[in-house]
Symmetry: C2
Subunit: 441 residues, 2 copies
């Protein structure tokens, strides 16, 4: 027996939902374009080996295509690795681009919280060799502009630096082959308590005193004050620690010029599980909402070079920094706010007071369509007049236009603005398009 459902972790989006999602995407795109970005598109699946060794412990979540002969492929897990592959394949060393598309993760889905196996990502990245932290600062500025445009209340961007974590791990004498798996554990701290994270760390071979050193650092949050405090800490004596702290101080200086320094917080527990980050990492979330991070990103300076090296090509350095907007999560939040959004553009419903005026309705519709006026008729078999008026209300259509024998005889139509509770008025057929144009807004 056929099961009438979508696959686990995937959902259908209704007209109202699709309308909301395209609002979020349109807002984001207009901000990306304001910053001079171009758009690219890459395939939904990639050669499997392109995605191998890029996602740390999350690699097990990659969806594979069946081997039906020919290329061995996987569905993309994010848009970042395909972007790096795009830069490498096309030898592009400098681009400011956005890309919007579905990505796929064999995760355990919590549909109500906006965690799905298929979801839309909307990525913005700056690739190229620029003055220290200038691209990073612009990226954070763009995040703030996006978050503001969604109009979902106050938000905060947490920032950390991969080298800060490396320095902490050095101080705690964590062997380098454990760094990534320790990052994965630390990354869970916004979802589970420290005690649970600690147990996980110990199960991975970290001892109690090492865990305590990690805890000491990752519990720190702040702003310039914290960074200046860290300048007097052991950590600034380490090369990675110094680089991270100097980078973040310069970033904060530029964010002040961009008038957004109060929106960000340095948070030493932010780790982000992905393998490829090398510099700043960040996540944004709305303060009063529980869906978790709605934007995540960071700097990944070696991803393109790594891909080029694996392909035995002469590597050229393409440092990158960027972020993903979690469209599906933001949509989950917006849904609560916009319960009654109109899901169509119809301006005029052409109604007849009987079955016999089908062709007259078609003539009028055709004139409206050819004059770029959104119009519909209900061509159902039993042409119930009240049902047609109800359709007008349901779809929130502004004008109801009626024709019957009288109107046809006098070459006129009856029209009414449904949204205002006005009476029907008669207008001449020749004046129809002009009348609607005039009263469109």
């Amino acid at each position: 027996m056929l099961e009438l459902r979508t696959p686990k972790g995937t959902i259908d989006y209704s007209p109202r939902e699709t309308m909301l999602i395209s609002k979020i995407i349109d807002k984001s795109i207009s901000i990306f374009k304001k910053h001079g970005a171009v758009c690219i598109d890459t395939p939904t699946f990639e050669l499997k080996e392109i995605l191998t060794n890029k996602y740390g412990e999350d690699s097990k979540l990659i969806f594979d295509l069946a081997d039906q002969g020919g290329d061995i492929c996987s569905l993309r897990y994010d848009l970042t690795v395909p972007f790096a592959r795009y830069l490498a394949s096309n030898k592009i060393a400098k681009i400011k681009r956005y890309q919007i598309g579905k990505v796929f993760r064999r995760d355990n889905p919590v549909v109500t919280k906006g965690r799905l196996r298929e979801f839309t990502q909307c990525d913005f990245d700056i690739a190229g060799n620029y003055l220290e932290m200038t691209a990073d600062a612009e990226i954070i500025k763009i995040c703030v502009e996006c978050l503001s445009s969604f109009d979902l209340g106050q938000f905060c961007i947490s920032i950390n630096h991969r080298k800060m974590l490396s320095a902490i791990f050095k101080i705690a004498s964590i062997p380098s082959d454990l760094h990534l798996t320790v990052c994965s554990s630390i990354d869970k701290i916004d979802k589970i308590q420290w005690e649970a994270v600690k147990l996980e760390l110990i199960s991975k071979g970290i001892d109690d005193s090492q865990a305590e050193i990690i805890k000491k650092y990752i519990s720190k949050t702040g702003s310039n004050d914290l960074l200046n405090e860290l300048k007097n800490d052991t950590i600034y004596g380490l090369e990675e620690g110094k680089e991270a702290i100097d980078d973040l101080l310069l970033l904060m200086k530029y964010l002040k010029i961009y008038k957004i320094e109060n929106i960000v917080q340095i948070n030493l527990s932010l780790a982000r599980g992905l393998d490829y980050y090398t510099g700043i990492i960040f996540e944004a979330s709305f303060k009063q909402e529980e869906v978790g991070a709605v934007i995540g990103g960071g700097r990944y300076d070696n991803l393109v070079d790594g891909i080029l090296k694996s392909a035995n090509r002469k590597d050229f350095t393409v440092p990158c920094v960027g972020f993903s907007v979690g469209i599906t999560r933001i949509y989950t939040l917006m849904q609560k706010k916009y319960k009654n959004i109109k899901d169509n553009d119809t301006l005029v419903l052409v109604v007849s007071s009987g079955d016999q005026f089908l062709e007259n309705k078609m003539e009028i519709l055709n004139e409206l369509w050819d004059n770029n006026i959104p119009a519909e008729s209900v061509f159902t078999k039993r042409n119930d007049f009240l049902a047609q008026l109800k359709y007008c209300e349901q779809k929130n259509i502004k004008f109801c236009l009626i024709i019957g024998q009288d109107e046809i005889n006098s070459n006129s139509v009856k029209i009414k603005n449904i949204l205002k509770d006005e009476n029907f008025e008669y207008i001449q057929r020749d004046d129809l398009v002009g009348f609607i144009e005039k009263n469109r807004i």
Copy 2:
């Protein structure tokens, strides 16, 4: 060694290409909305069994996901079957909807002709029980509006009726279990000669005299004249033949009201290979182009009911008619026309005449961004003045704004409209936003 390429039959789209594709999609969407359509979205993959037995001989082209435990899934082959599943799952009996998304076919790709393994479809369908041929006529009207909006020259829509083919098969005494495979063969007639089609038919068990009867009918094309000729033919004596001819005559009557009867041609060789069509079928192509059909569609009255029956649900009838716009093929045609389309929105490039004015540039950028003016700076390490001007030209940016020590001292900027060959003019910093707003267009 890693291969730096996309999987067979898939391609990357560059900024210029993506810009063109979104133009095609935007044009289509605005027409769909003019007809009152709403938008839905369904998953990229479906349960495999949903797609089984829907595509006739083309079922072998379906991409499967690997069995990694859990649901057995396949990538969608089109947007029509998922739409029918959506109607069935959500018990929707009436909707006018569009959907845009990637679909996947393990075909032998001819990339240069716009035939790919992954391509974008843009579907419009009307589901519901309406007066005979009213939805069908509106669907053809919408096709015409889309094709006109693409502005690629003259086009033609070929129309046939599934029942016409059934009637022809009855006259030729083709056993009903061969109908679909015969359709698949006939469908190739625009790509290969009749002689090759005939050989294929004979290999499928059709004899010479049967093939000649098929040939006699499928070589007919025309308009109302042809339909009236067929009214006097044996074919009108068969139930299916009568239904097909009456349907098409009524359709032609409505298309005349919609002022598009001259754009369509009745073509009895049009078969369309897909299993699910039950009424009119049609394809559109541009006259001077060789990419083949750019729009294809038809009526499929039993698809939703069939899915409901397979799921042991009480079936309710949801007749549907619709079409797909082959975005990728249209893009292939447009590409030739728009060679130099601007791929970005940047209006102002903020340039400094030296390395030291980084923070001043950032302040200006921030003011422009906050006033919704698309602006960029080149923050490269060696701040070559000429390289910045070149960037302005490359990206086709209208205003070049320069700051140096003199400008900072006098609280002004130098600005030039690059597109007109004017001189730089000095304006006060406070007047900057106003000046650009005024000269934006």
